[in-house]
Symmetry: C2
Subunit: 384 residues, 2 copies
């Protein structure tokens, strides 16, 4: 495998948009191509992530549509869908294509649009990522899934609702520094604790929002990357799975797929959690960030809540987590999320994150989770 780098990133404003997914992607892609400083003609493949476009836009087969909208109709395209981990999965496969020497430059990313749908309809479509026969039929949707995970973590480790609230407050504080974030306002612990119950013990401010948006990355082989202005190297990219259904998981307080993907990513990169300076991870609900910081090896099992409470994961803390604002405040356009997380890590490792910059960050990690934590992607990046 050749060395592979991300040489360009583009992210739309996250929030509500009145455009199709392919059009949203075109904006992010044009920015990423310009950032990379390459001609669009150098792009040899398009890897496109989208989750509920069939349901929400009556649009499948979005790969060639994205190529056509970009003015690149002859470039081979592939659409990926692995629930909320979709565009991180697309990224990992793009790294393979470039690493294997099949292409030198690949455009990868994703888009999602759901704010044109009623909230209950969007919630129902998102639930299609859980098992139709065994889980959807019970009426459970993802807030309920993560409420069960929160209860398991609280019962086993004594994690508190206040500790979860600290995650929300921290990510809103970070999001206020990110002009692309859906929410750019700070909130307090009291705001979180007083917000409406969604699925006990999760309250409104424990949950990420529905979001429209797109993100794109230009992935390039070593020879192309060395000529670009500020390449960020892919140290590793790993995927792992776990049982589809909650009833097959032995311990809901852990995400086994996160642990497996992290171990594989660290092994590939020859690095460990102690080498990581900045993290973007999948905080679809506050408890998900706590479970992930443990599964990624940053904190001992059961201490993720304490880390949040003590500010270790805040900008200026021991290990800043989600400086972008995370899914919680930046927003969560599910097909775009993985690529947007990677875009933030690249921006951080380039030293271009302005007020939310993690000083001296040289190694970054992106973590994206799909469904009931049945799919997880973890990638490591380095500035040299």
């Amino acid at each position: 495998m050749r060395r592979v780098a991300v040489i360009g990133v583009g992210v739309t404003k996250f929030g509500k948009h009145e455009r199709t997914c392919a059009e949203l992607f075109a904006e992010a892609a044009a920015d990423a191509i310009q950032d990379a400083g390459v001609s669009p003609r150098t792009i040899q493949a398009i890897y496109f992530g989208n989750v509920v476009g069939g349901e929400g836009e009556r649009q499948l087969h979005m790969g060639p549509q994205a190529g056509s909208v970009l003015g690149l109709p002859a470039v081979p395209t592939t659409r990926f869908e692995t629930a909320c981990a979709t565009s991180h999965s697309a990224f990992r496969h793009a790294v393979m294509e470039v690493g294997a020497g099949i292409s030198d430059v690949v455009l990868v990313g994703g888009a999602e649009r759901v704010l044109n749908l009623p909230t209950d309809v969007a919630t129902e479509y998102f639930a299609f990522a859980s098992d139709a026969v065994f889980e959807q039929s019970t009426g459970i949707t993802f807030p309920g899934v993560f409420a069960l995970i929160a209860r398991a973590h609280m019962t086993k480790h004594g994690t508190t609702e206040e500790q979860m609230a600290h995650v929300a407050v921290k990510n809103h504080r970070h999001g206020a520094l990110n002009p692309k974030a859906q929410f750019q306002k700070e909130i307090t612990i009291e705001d979180v604790l007083a917000s409406a119950k969604v699925a006990d013990p999760l309250k409104l401010y424990d949950c990420c929002p529905f979001t429209d948006g797109a993100a794109a990355l230009v992935v390039a082989a070593v020879d192309v990357a060395r000529k670009s202005r500020n390449p960020i190297w892919v140290l590793s990219s790993a995927a792992a799975s776990d049982s589809m259904c909650l009833h097959d998981k032995k311990d809901l307080s852990r995400a086994l797929a996160t642990e497996r993907a992290a171990q594989a990513a660290y092994r590939q990169a020859g690095r460990g959690p102690e080498d990581v300076d900045v993290v973007e991870l999948h905080d679809c609900f506050t408890i998900a960030e706590i479970v992930a910081t443990e599964g990624l090896g940053f904190f001992e099992p059961g201490t993720g809540g304490i880390a949040a409470e003590k500010g270790w994961t805040s900008l200026g803390g021991k290990l800043p987590v989600n400086p972008s604002g995370g899914l919680k405040a930046k927003g969560h356009p599910i097909g775009a999320t993985g690529a947007a997380q990677i875009a933030e890590i690249v921006t951080q490792l380039r030293g271009e994150a302005d007020p939310r910059q993690v000083d001296g960050a040289r190694v970054g990690l992106a973590h994206t989770l799909g469904g009931n934590a049945a799919t997880v992607l973890v990638s490591l990046f380095g500035s040299e």
Copy 2:
């Protein structure tokens, strides 16, 4: 890139099934794993193709579901969707993963179930593979798209309805020799010409059916393959795209993406159309087979209809096309079709196709088309 082979194939009976896509895939996958003679524990990744499961089964995120149903919940999975080319696209990416040395054994395939839906609903979901804004809004569905293509070919080249009927008759004759085929009855030219108009000039027997089914392949690296009973080598696998919308295509009588993908596949393999002994290609409508036989370089532009009429593409002819019965008679479970075509080529090159065997076949080609021919995959295979 290392050499890569297909070492195991499995295909369900095509027709109507009362099981989920993941369960259908499990049957095909179990057969493929047994055929490969490997332990399920050797599988390092699952590449899963499905198109309208979100719409038809309320099920996205089918990758880990397929892994769970197979008893392999920890194996990383990816779901692919590129309309009717879905599982051929998954196959091409699996070849990259193995060729690049990331995994030694990958399970790849797909499944689709639509016969539980009313025909008009299935037709509507399939149309999601065309552009929602510019094409679906006009009311056109795929029979209409291919009727336009047929008219363009008839006008430019003088192709006749009788020539198209010859494709249907030939593929039904082949399908009658395939115990897995949805239709195992022969039909006559008169049957085709007298069948009900679907979209002028296409009649019922010019159209492939809706189908439930699954197909799976075990793809392995050279070292594993050499220990297997009868590996079939992947000589090349290429993808190409064309404009998403019909109004952006200059000449509907050609499929530019087929021509591009074929040229790339021949170049990678160091072979040409004259080296190919057996073909499985995308005959979703009879005109599609005629256009494809020209685009793949087997016959001069405009002479595909003549080739069908003269029997050159029949078993026993110069170049047998769709010995399995093709999409037309074997059936077209869209997410499984590409893998099923490859399974047939592997079976042919192994010399195990029994009454539909192409004598002495040593090089085979699989061709799969997505949407308005906006995505095309072409792969070449060899028995040594």
